[in-house]
């Protein structure tokens, strides 16, 4: 059983082993490294379960912190979707002067097609305008009682571009056409919404930066406490030849685990909030005859959220453990 005790000790040969050889011998036995990684990972899960309350509190704090910017980004994504849906309806209506006859108006309409940025131009005669108005408003009877048709003829222009500056420039140019009485741009509210979306995007990024900083401190502090609690263990490991990275490994795993669980919990909370919100939103949306539904995080974004949690956790643990384990003069 103890035959290995009697085997010659390999490092004893010859008189000297140089410092350089010592360095080289490190690269030696890597055989069990994978097993050790698995063991340490399992061990960190076990430790988490052993102190469920404090672990849970840390995880919830991480989850809520990650949730806030995730919600803002989610809100913005949905705004973008709304914008996309309505951007096609960005159009310029040119109301023509009453003195312009029907053939003249149609000519102007055709001329417009030679302009840049114009996809289509549709001429709506006074009669067509009246018919359309009667149908949609139900006020046809009243209008018919007028001695003449009060509605102007119009040309409805759909621009090829969605860029608000180009659309504005186009609209201003069209207003100068002599036959045009006045111009109306339908895309004002889209511009406002678009600007709001930009603002939310910036706010989200800012909040994300703040949250990441905060998470660094939260996770870092938790890991620091763990290190203090396991001082004796660290000491013993170093006494029997544990390297800094070996000693730090359980703490790095712990940081990653906190991040992954916090991120997963954030995804879960996001899902619940979305479900609650979507229910009441549907009623509102039906009033607008729209089929719009709120979009969730989706697989990619959920995955990113969890991975960012893991990265933040790992890096915070890395900084703290190396600071506190290396500082130990053992």
């Amino acid at each position: 059983m103890a035959e290995w005790l009697m085997m010659p000790v390999p490092t004893m040969n010859k008189a000297r082993t140089s410092n350089r050889q010592n360095r080289a011998s490190r690269r030696g036995s890597d055989v069990g490294t994978l097993q050790i990684h698995r063991k340490i990972a399992l061990d960190s899960v076990k430790r988490l379960i052993l102190s469920p309350l404090s672990s849970l509190m840390t995880i919830v704090v991480i989850a809520v912190s990650l949730l806030l910017p995730a919600l803002l980004f989610g809100l913005n994504d949905n705004l973008q979707l709304i914008l996309l849906e309505f951007q096609n309806s960005a159009r310029i209506t040119l109301f023509l002067d009453d003195s312009v006859s029907e053939p003249q108006g149609e000519n102007v309409s055709k001329d417009l097609l030679t302009y840049n940025f114009i996809q289509s131009a549709a001429y709506v005669s006074k009669a067509e305008a009246l018919e359309e108005f009667s149908l949609s408003s139900g006020l046809g009877e009243i209008l018919r009682s007028f001695s003449h048709n009060p509605l102007p003829a119009a040309i409805i222009v759909t621009p090829t571009t969605l860029n608000s500056r180009d659309v504005n420039a186009l609209a201003q140019r069209l207003e100068t056409i002599s036959e045009v009485d006045f111009m109306q741009l339908d895309s004002q509210w889209i511009n406002r919404l678009s600007a709001l979306s930009d603002l939310i995007s910036i706010a989200g990024k800012l909040l994300a930066a703040i949250v990441i900083t905060g998470l660094f401190f939260i996770i870092g502090n938790t890991i620091k406490h763990d290190i203090e609690n396991r001082r004796q263990e660290i000491k013993v490991m170093k006494l029997v030849g544990g390297t800094d990275s070996y000693v730090a490994r359980p703490f790095l795993y712990r940081g990653i685990l906190f991040g992954v669980l916090g991120g997963s919990f954030a995804v879960f909370l996001h899902l619940i909030i979305l479900m609650v919100f979507n229910g009441s939103l549907q009623e509102l949306i039906q009033l607008y005859n729209s089929s719009f539904t709120l979009q969730g995080l989706g697989f990619f974004n959920s995955f990113s959220l969890i991975v960012s949690g893991a990265l933040i956790g790992w890096f915070a643990a890395f900084l703290v453990s190396f600071r506190h384990i290396r500082g130990d003069n053992l």
Binding site: L5, M12, T17, N19, M237, V240, G241, T243
Partner: protein
């Protein structure tokens, strides 16, 4: 294996813990370091284990000059030394088996091979039946022996022991010394710090006597 020349250690704002220490311990040699408490026995072992840095002189262990040892090299240096500590330094939340396994785990041993070695080492110190017990449930002597098993499990080229028989009755002390002697016979150098005068007398090995950090006597088989 251990070469010491004019070695000194001074802590900040205090007397010299060690001064002008000179001796050499060869391959397969066993020696005792004795002296009253505070004579510098533990400091000497700490220096060899690179737990402290020498203040002066030369300290060469396994061909490595410890004065020039970089931080990163320290763990690999310690893996070649089996150390037994006076206060055991065991992990209380791991079983006896896991405690002895630790050095092998750290140096990345394949697990099956490691398990065999741990059992062999525990068998050597007579604790095979206690492998699943946690250290706090063991007596002081048993804990000491777990520490010894852990020190030898990695087949070190040097064994350092600080009062390894401090908590043991004479019979067990003899057993422990026999374990050390077996290692000595396969070429391991052994340095034991002890003030157990009767044990030292019966064993007749080289004795390095320290007093207030100075070597007052180096008597033993080499000098006789």
């Amino acid at each position: 294996m251990i070469k010491i020349k004019k070695l000194s250690k001074r802590y900040v704002n205090s007397q010299d813990a060690l001064s002008n220490i000179n001796f050499e311990i060869g391959k397969g040699e066993m020696a005792f370091v004795t002296g009253h408490s505070g004579a510098g026995k533990s400091t000497l072992l700490k220096l060899i284990l690179a737990l402290e840095k020498p203040s002066g002189g030369e300290l060469i262990v396994n061909g490595l000059n410890l004065n020039k040892l970089s931080r990163r090299e320290i763990p690999y240096h310690r893996r070649k030394i089996g150390a037994v500590f006076q206060d055991h330094q065991l992990l209380t939340d791991r079983t006896v088996f896991e405690n002895v396994l630790l050095p092998l785990e750290i140096s990345g041993f394949p697990i099956e091979d490691a398990k065999r070695r741990v059992r062999a080492a525990l068998d050597k110190v007579g604790l095979l039946k206690k492998e699943k017990v946690f250290p706090p449930a063991l007596s002081g002597g048993e804990q000491q022996r777990v520490g010894i098993a852990r020190a030898v499990v990695n087949r070190p080229s040097i064994i350092l022991a600080d009062e390894p028989t401090g908590n043991l009755d004479p019979n067990l002390s003899e057993e422990v010394m026999k374990v050390f002697e077996q290692f000595k016979s396969v070429g391991v150098s052994i340095l034991v710090a002890s003030h157990d005068a009767s044990l030292i007398k019966t064993l007749n090995y080289r004795v390095i006597h320290l007093d207030h950090g100075r070597m007052v006597n180096d008597a033993g088989t080499d000098n006789e």
